[in-house]
Symmetry: C4
Subunit: 269 residues, 4 copies
Amino acid sequence: MSRWKIGTIVMVCAVLCGAIALSAARPAAQGSASLANDPKLVEDLVYANRILFAQSVLDGFGHVSVRSDKDPSHFLMSRSMAPALVTSSDIMEYDRNGEPVDARGRNSYVERYIHAAIYRLRPDVKAVVHSHSPDIIPYSVTGTKLLPIYHVSAFLRLGAPIFDTHDDFGDTDMLIRDNKLGDGLAKVLGNSGVALIRGHGFVAVADSTPIVVYRAIYTQINARVQIDAGRLGTIKVLTPGEAAKAQAIVEATVGRPWELWKSQVGKIE
Amino acid sequence: MSRWKIGTIVMVCAVLCGAIALSAARPAAQGSASLANDPKLVEDLVYANRILFAQSVLDGFGHVSVRSDKDPSHFLMSRSMAPALVTSSDIMEYDRNGEPVDARGRNSYVERYIHAAIYRLRPDVKAVVHSHSPDIIPYSVTGTKLLPIYHVSAFLRLGAPIFDTHDDFGDTDMLIRDNKLGDGLAKVLGNSGVALIRGHGFVAVADSTPIVVYRAIYTQINARVQIDAGRLGTIKVLTPGEAAKAQAIVEATVGRPWELWKSQVGKIE
Amino acid sequence: MSRWKIGTIVMVCAVLCGAIALSAARPAAQGSASLANDPKLVEDLVYANRILFAQSVLDGFGHVSVRSDKDPSHFLMSRSMAPALVTSSDIMEYDRNGEPVDARGRNSYVERYIHAAIYRLRPDVKAVVHSHSPDIIPYSVTGTKLLPIYHVSAFLRLGAPIFDTHDDFGDTDMLIRDNKLGDGLAKVLGNSGVALIRGHGFVAVADSTPIVVYRAIYTQINARVQIDAGRLGTIKVLTPGEAAKAQAIVEATVGRPWELWKSQVGKIE
Amino acid sequence: MSRWKIGTIVMVCAVLCGAIALSAARPAAQGSASLANDPKLVEDLVYANRILFAQSVLDGFGHVSVRSDKDPSHFLMSRSMAPALVTSSDIMEYDRNGEPVDARGRNSYVERYIHAAIYRLRPDVKAVVHSHSPDIIPYSVTGTKLLPIYHVSAFLRLGAPIFDTHDDFGDTDMLIRDNKLGDGLAKVLGNSGVALIRGHGFVAVADSTPIVVYRAIYTQINARVQIDAGRLGTIKVLTPGEAAKAQAIVEATVGRPWELWKSQVGKIE
């Protein structure tokens, strides 16, 4: 065999080895759950996890879910892991009771019942965030009402009621670990966009992933603004009319920050 | 062909290939608006967008504009997008009423009327920033006057009046979405360098891009300093004489932070 | 020699040179202390140093140690240096009195007696963090009790007593520089998970490295939350029953943030 | 000529071209000022500039100087530019009156008289920092005394007097722009390690570059700690005996944070 043929064979082998290595590094073919759902829905859910971590709404704890578009009684959420590290192959499907459809040995978040209960009670809700935001805790433990201080957080006009597990459940471990607790939270949430959980954190709900991420981020910012404003004097909040109109227009422009947040996260899997 | 000629040809080819690659990486030929204006003006406007985001004055919302140098009744501003992502090909030209000269399908900021109205009323103003700064909102919703606490924010001596859309317009969606609202804001701004918009944010104006960026950044810093000082005791603010002199000298040295901020943003398009 | 043989020899030499270079870059064969201990224990200790710096609990000062698994009367800690820069070859072994087993010219932290004393008095403790956190100092100098405000800091139910060197030792240089001072601190710590040192900082203790890092981080976060909550109204803290249950479940899930923190630190030596 | 010889010649040419390019990129031979001074002194001064920016003590404004080791009546400081961008070729030498020895067209900081006056009045001082820290301004405009709250800021025991230009100079532009103002500041500084300038910022002084950088950073941190502590209750500050001992031991260990800060800045020119 000529030298050139030997050289060509060596190079072809090297390329094949590289391709095999790359394939091995790619996540395994995604499970049936995400294949059944709109890939864009799953992709936005992965972005939501990463964005909420990058924007300091979620840390090692907390989670975000979306209602399944294939079966509206189901929802999608990552397996139990830090949101910052979620990829599309970590997304699992849950039934209306919060139980995994096809666990395949993967652990689920203990508090998936937050999401299950809200999806059951609120047919309008398509996405849910649960966060332990240190900026929100002070409101939850002092019974202070979060108010719509400015236009970007006008959705707080829908209320930010506080759910206290102790009221109906006494001494618990504070986690929303079953459907009874989930139902208790969903009932207190009512028609609001946000509910606080005393000594624990908050939930934000919306009819799309970008808007629920937006609401979670701006609930946290509003909390800081409200504390600072309280130090300066009496706060003139948005009137109900202003808040309704402002919420509509601001949420119609959620694409602008959403694209920015995605660009800051960069490439995802 | 001699070996040296072969070598020269190879090197020349390499240089040509590099140049072609660099050209391919350059942004597409810029639209007619920016070609008609001083490229440095457009470049500084792109820097202003990026700097204001990097310095946390703008987030996914907010905008900055400059008065056109070709037609002083016109102004330049990015199309509707997050400031962090603005490039020179996003810059559009607006007429004295805030309408785009050559939209070519690009969306404009709803609140371009903030800029249009100020340019109409204030011939001295060459640049305008609009921000939703969470550090400023508390002042706007409690009617607290921002004061020139220290020399770098001496420009606040010109005042920081608060425009409340509710006074003359009742329940709106809070946005400055037409020239009537813009005129209302510009009238309240008067001859100040800064005006607050209740439950919304603030505007900063100046006769150059570096100075308007500087004023936006230091208005935000002064707001935090003033809240902290208020916690310690009675504040001794700059006297009118001190403030006038300090503003002049500090704004004469704006090149120093401006070069730093540009270097932190890095390469732009 | 044929061209192909020359090429092959050149490639083999390059690979060998690379391997030699990589070997040279590896830390020198680790000292006898870390070879005698479980490499995972040492690796987690290095991670703990880096994580605590990345999470702003430690700065140029402060330290973290683990009880030796080979000899439970000994403990492991870095030589005297900034935690951010610690590698496995910096880890030294100390005896029950806090003296280095095999110094080999390396300097030890002056305050190693904090760790020695706690390991002597608390057989349950396997890891100790000492920090100068600016968020904790205000509590230490005003005698304010840190309380378990929310579920992630439920471990504060064990108490956060304040050790004041001045009480028994008068005017010192504030450092825990010998076993007498160490014993004084350990005695005040009692069975708590955290103790404050007046005008100096705090210590956190736990029965594993991930949990002690977790406790140090969330003690600092709880401190900020408690100050903010105090500004809003009367705080409803976790009940003893809630706190006991919450601490158990949250600390059982410490793997989730621990993996995130390690991934943020990246590769260590 | 054989193909291998041609290849070797091409590679050697490439290496030579690279070396020539690198040499061209190196800063021009440094001016006579820094060549006359200990290169380590100049290097540490460049590090100080970068560190103080990285640690948020300096922004686009502010400066740091060191007393010349060749002529103790002279001092070294960067030309007028943002500290974040300073390199060794920007360092200039000033005489006892604050005038540049060899300007060569380079601009000097207007406020070099802060440094000149302090070096004249305080033979023990070898390094000076001037900062506009927003955390310090509240103390300067309310006449609040900065106190040594904890051991790492024990040097505040030496006092933190407040210089108010208005007292003796009436309405100025707030800058220390001549030796009269500089002397006024130095007189108020007295034997302290820190002095505040009302509505302007502060200065820190020390007998070495690492210690002055340390003092500037921890004065700023202490300011935040003191405000937070004041919110919780009555502050127990360090006793004079504690503070004297703590300052000595902490400043003896300044190498630990200094090495960390340098490593975070990375390579400098």
